[in-house]
């Protein structure tokens, strides 16, 4: 996943909250709470980064935390909150 390009799914609304954000997928009606502002920033910045690794680097998160954030991203992927960007042909 680290070397792949990902982005927020188009049917997902990200609503800021004091503690982070609410993510709601209008298609599958899943509701996820992003509990840390760092995760929110990471998710928002995914689409602007070359790949997940670059997004993590840009986030300033300590490397020790990267595995947890990657797991979180995988869970978001499992509910289609984020999607892999299709490669250019």
């Amino acid at each position: 996943m680290l070397d792949e390009a990902w982005q927020l799914s188009p049917q997902v609304a990200l609503r800021p909250e004091p503690f982070g954000a609410l993510a709601y997928h209008f298609g599958n009606r899943r509701l996820t709470f992003l509990r840390r502002p760092e995760l929110v920033a990471l998710v928002r910045g995914l689409g602007d980064s070359r790949d997940v690794r670059a997004a993590l680097e840009a986030s300033g998160l300590p490397a020790a935390h990267w595995p947890a954030y990657e797991t979180a991203l995988r869970r978001l992927a499992a509910t289609d909150m984020i999607r892999r960007v299709a490669k250019e042909p």
């Binding site: 188009p10 049917q11 997902v12 609304a13 990200l14 609503r15 800021p16 909250e17 004091p18 503690f19 609410l22 709601y24 209008f26 298609g27 009606r29 509701l31 709470f33 509990r35 928002r44």
Partner: protein, 423 residues
Amino acid sequence: MTLLEDAGLQDRQRPNSQGDRPMGGTLVEQFELGLDAPICLTWELTYACNLACAHCLSSSGRRDPRELSTRQCEAVIDELQRMQVFYVNIGGGEPTIRPDFWHLLQYAVDHQVGVKFSTNGVRITPERARFLASTDYVDVQVSLDGATAEVNDHIRGPGSYETASRALQNLADAGFRDAKISVVVTRHNVGQLDEFKALADEHGATLRLTRLRPSGRGADVWDDLHPLPEQQRVLFDWLTAHGENVLTGDSFFHLAGFGESLPGLNLCGAGRVVCLIDPIGDVYACPFAIHDEFHAGNILHDGGFQRVWQTSQLFQDLRAPQSSGACTSCAFYDSCRGGCMAAKFFTGLPMDGPDPECVQGYGESALAADRVVPAPSQDHSLPATTRNQPVMLQLTRRPDLAAPPVSACAEDPLAGYRPLRPH
């Protein structure tokens, strides 16, 4: 639906993020402090209804002449869009009997507000079902309170089972996927849980079981209809065993005292993450709390829905830490949170004491003590008996009769003779 833009989010005001709001803690603890916008809310579009269900939480029947106009409803939807309320549960009364219902449905969907509407099925014709099947972001919830006409119509009135069934069938035939069948669990239908599940499976629908509250007309029938303590246990066990694909709207969090919490936040969302907008624009803490006591404001008179949600005194009070009061010493308070405030209020119990259906039995003792059931602050019921009105007769036998009356044509000389019992 077009691409959702979050560019505008940075500008949205966040009053709750200022001041002394503590960060961290569990998600539930954060929610109890309230959010800047509801996550979802119930919007009753009309008090008019073609049915007269015995337990109606909104005492519906008659249209209120002050009902919001189409334009006013559109303005509500515009606000919900700005606030990013993800979805609204539209109900009533019977929302589909408003002439502009289908227009408002489309308007909501076109403005990034997902809709689930609750209906008794009366207007879900095959044509409407096909329209719904072709529309994204709309969910349909059909109300049913018995897996058989006998049990259902006892509460909802003659013909109501047939109407709901037909609606479900029309939806299934039209290819509408995953409609909801929403059931209020009562003393009389708690034995039909498997049948309800089968009904949902047959129609490709999802079953939803919810709690009966003594709200609206429910106050009049609650004593007779609410599940008995042993039935609550049956319900809890059934949900634990079979409830994987069954929704509950988190309405049984008061049963958390039985053991492992059921799925859901186990939190009273009223005024914190959910609320009600009623047909005349009044805002209440939740649809089970339609009473002056839980009235937060009015969208027309108090500057719009966002203003009411964010600044009403009632909601500030609900978002402050609540007292556990008489429940403080109970080991289960952490899981049940003292139960449902509407259930307590409408049975005349104190807010800081046990739920009337407290699984530890403290509610029963409280109910047996002196209490004053509050008078309703409003009633939209139709004044005269209508043909749809349920007649909740219980067929019983006179205790003094041992046998049917003796016919005048009886040939047996001992007919009707009852020997005296020895003392």
